[in-house]
Symmetry: D2
């Protein structure tokens, strides 16, 4: 049986990554690709790397016959996504890659995204899409909200530790290093090759990054009380990858054991031998997340480092993993592509 | 039916690329991986990006039971390859990725590689492995000699034009830009990040690059008389990719039509619309080759540009394509992975 | 004595490069910096790398008192430049970095730049600013037109050879590799880090690049008859640098001797030992140009490779070299900064 | 008056960087360059970017006439340095760039460097070379020990805060991102372009990096009691630059004021406006250090970020700054080169 797939917002990086992954998926067929301003163009004009594929031309959303669609990936910009999704037929399954349905509390949404939510019903219905922690809910969900790529990285490091109570909730620092594709295909001066290559810097320093909304929500829920972490993202001169360095107060061996236990049956999360740490180079273009734990020289402190590809495990790969579950497929279908090295 | 595969020299980049590709190949199983100096180690210690795979440990070649091997990829260094291959059981099919069996004429081998060949019988038997031009011979071959990555790029541009006689054989220039992984995982000062990043230069200028041996052999054969081209490779700060810019004297439209006709049924070679040229960015980590033709402002001259990934179409992907044919599989099996962008 | 300097269009890369160079120039003082849309801002807000300098705030051109200016660098966009320069007081010396005054023939200007020239008087007066070939004219010029960065590279390779008549004028190919800063600080999708890093491609293929107008003008003048070369620029993933690979028909030793003789007293052009070729890595952020010559295996053909930094020798450094001459300073003043490696 | 300068270990990156800086220094002249294994070669064969300079050929140390040397930069590997320096004539001033004389306590040296010190007399005499904090001692020193590049970055962030007592000494985390040239011109697999480009990772995690010896020594001295910080360096795909992200418990405004006050007269340390943070891109190839402070959303916590160029301010520039002081020159002589951007 073949699942009919639509991708809304196919002209961005996450849209293209979805097409790349679905290209070799055995039971999915792309029946519609939307891109508002590029409607009428061939996908290969926008993304020449996909020219070997037989794909539908880009169209406007209004032109899609959703009665012939089983599942719709929504890779639209934040805010646009909610306006589109609330009008989709209710029998179409939806995996949203935007930030619009990640926060459960409407007030938190207003706080982090600066405006009222336009589709509160959908927000109430949406399941948070971090597969490893919400697998059962995702299987039966109609609408899944993809986790932010930084937020995913931080949760792979911290969620099991907070849930198990093996670290001090008030002394958590997450220092993150992100590659540039996380910022999307947007024309900003600081994303130019000449501005970024050979340089790196912190941004959204001091607790202003929107993914903190997700951290606050998820970590507080796990802890049963408010948890606020410190979080500093940095932009590094690479195209794909996120490396999160977590500083926690807790026994390193206990931290390690907790992570090993949590992820022991997970197909995509690999915990390295104790004392080893990962590189973004080793998960590139794949759905894998590598995690390592090291004991600090100061007793009672541990460093936990995780690496994943922001476009794959942090976004489109995660979305496909969820879609597999929603459609009754094995979670790993089409996603076991090995990382590309070097 | 599953084909039992051995990879000799699995600790280099082409070996790792073979494992990456075979990881999602439906009918191949890796039963042996050799790496002389790293025998005993796990592949994931040498290449952590492959740690999710269940692979045999690295071993010495002598430890491999070749009676349980259907096909052997040989990713050993030049010169070593011939000494190993001549001693392999004759009922094991072999795809060699080294330069050892590319040249048909022993004297040419001596000229370009600086020493007598050690396995002249095998050399006589070997089929030149540029699939698009030797497909029928490869299907029945026991030993296939993988084309050099620069040599493949140049031949995709020039072989159809020389065969069709639509260009002046004495006015051919090939200016090539290669990424660094083509040089392998070797500890050379000029391959250090600090030495290469942000800089680029020509090398082997003036006709000293060994791949000229392949060009001379193949082009002269097609032309029915000696053909000598000018060839300058350049090293650019990227990891994967070759871009060949061919300057030819001939009618651009005729050149274009010849390429379109030659490649019209080829699954991996895509000729772009007339006037467009390719980017290495759009074939990265895939087995595709993109080719474009432009007419020069000087009448009777054309520029033909081709892009491919040196590790995939230029080496391990090409090898797998040939192995598929040798084993009776569809040529594209396991190779339709879409390019990774961005 | 201190020369009062104004820089018009200081918010682009060539403007910033001028400031960088003048920062340690012993006899120049920057008295005005213009940037139309950023008027009122501090230079350090636009270019934080210059924050240690005590610079005038950015202003509109109208706000500059040109009676207190000795020499004005004009780093404005093409077409804008001519409209500004024609209205400048005639006693202010001007070094223009745009393309507006490079072509002598108004019809050629129309052909390459697609519109009539707005300041024909100035065009008639302007001196072509390739210092090594127009030194005497530059010394007494009021208006100097900076050479294009690609055009400069090609002329360092070819002009002496055409002038000496040691190569075949009808068989000249120039294959160029440019870094991305040559495209300026402009918001174009193909200049994004994610689009460019790890990839490379040809552009303006077939004789459509505007710098061909300069080649045609200068080479024909030297040859005493029309000369048309083939020219293909490529964009490579680096920030600074141009590498030109010239293919010529001529005796390599004679080619070499001609270049050695031409440049023997030049402070910034270095001819490498015969058989060696340069790297952009070795001239980065400096005003030097390195040139190498190799004999091809085909008798009677030579390859000449040149490397320079597009922002320095190809633009702002060249401009400062000319300004030194126009102001009666030693040509090398402030320009002997060693290349930055690695 | 011209100071006669020798550079021992001139074939490494810090040696080359010294030559680059001294090339435009008005009162220094390089009279000797040593490189043991490359003795006899021209510097331009080892570093072609320096070919425009008139430099002495590389020689063995034994060949240097130190009676004609005023000051000697020692850019030799750790351990080698001490054996060489102890035998130098005592009237030659020495700036050492290795780690050999940074630690005051011989036992700490053994602990971090794994062997007994070979020149304890010199170790006792050496002055720690972080100019901003040891300026007076450096002026009269004979032997100055250059600070480690990571150690310098951390101290610019933390030393003033510890000295002023405005942060909690037991809750200091320094997350560092270093470019690759810090590892030197050494043939290691992990420094190859193909291994590093497009990837990044942590190393020496958990408190094993040798620069912690410097932190422990300096911070404990300033605090008047033992201070142990957490420190994680990361390797990022860039050639030059260190970005240190310091997490401290303390009032952000007080932290900021302390840094502003400390550095207000420093020529090379720039404190950005409150709330802004620096980029390595803006200090590249210069002797400047940019520092920024941001208040975290958690009250009582601040993030301090510093950027410097590891080869310049972190090593050779710092060394030259010290040499200027030792020779009675203005500290900034030859060092006011503006950063290279882009």
């Amino acid at each position: 049986m073949t699942h009919k797939i639509a991708i809304l917002g196919a002209s961005g990086y996450t849209g293209a990554e979805l097409v790349r992954l679905i290209a070799t998926h055995p039971t999915m067929e792309i029946v519609a690709l939307s891109a508002d301003r590029k409607a009428g163009m061939d996908m290969s004009d926008v993304f020449p790397h996909l020219r070997h594929l037989d794909l539908p031309a880009l169209c406007k959303i209004e032109a899609i016959d959703f009665s012939a669609v089983d599942l719709c990936f929504c890779a639209l910009p934040h805010a646009t996504s909610q306006r589109v999704i609330k009008d989709l037929p209710k029998d179409v399954k939806v995996v949203d890659l935007s930030a619009d349905f990640r926060l459960r509390d409407p007030e938190e949404y207003v706080k982090w995204y600066g405006g009222a939510h336009d589709a509160l019903d959908c927000q109430a219905e949406a399941v948070y899409g971090l597969t490893e922690f919400y697998r059962d809910d995702i299987k039966t969900a109609r609408l899944v909200a993809g986790t932010g790529c930084n937020a995913a990285t931080g949760q792979y490091i911290l969620s099991p530790l907070i849930k198990a109570g093996v670290i001090d909730f008030d002394q958590i620092i997450l220092d993150l290093k992100c590659a540039v594709s996380g910022a999307g295909r947007s024309l900003k001066e600081n994303l130019l090759h000449a501005e970024l290559s050979e340089g790196y810097h912190a941004y959204a320093v001091g607790g202003t990054h929107r993914h903190l909304g997700e951290f606050d929500q998820e970590f507080s829920k796990l802890a049963g009380r408010p948890v606020r972490i410190q979080f500093t993202p940095h932009l590094v001169p690479a195209n794909r990858g996120i490396l999160g360095t977590g500083y926690v107060h807790g026994d390193a061996k206990q931290v390690y054991d907790t992570l090993v236990e949590t992820y022991k049956d997970e197909p995509f999360v690999e915990v390295l031998p104790f004392g080893q740490t990962p590189s973004t180079k080793h998960i590139r273009a794949s759905n894998f997340c590598h995690i390592g734990v090291v004991a600090d020289r100061i007793e009672g402190r541990a460093i936990v480092v995780a690496a994943l590809d922001n476009l794959t495990k942090g976004s489109s790969g995660q979305a496909l993993q969820n879609a597999n579950l929603m459609l009754g497929e094995d979670e790993t279908t089409g996603l076991m592509l090995a990382p590309v090295f070097p």
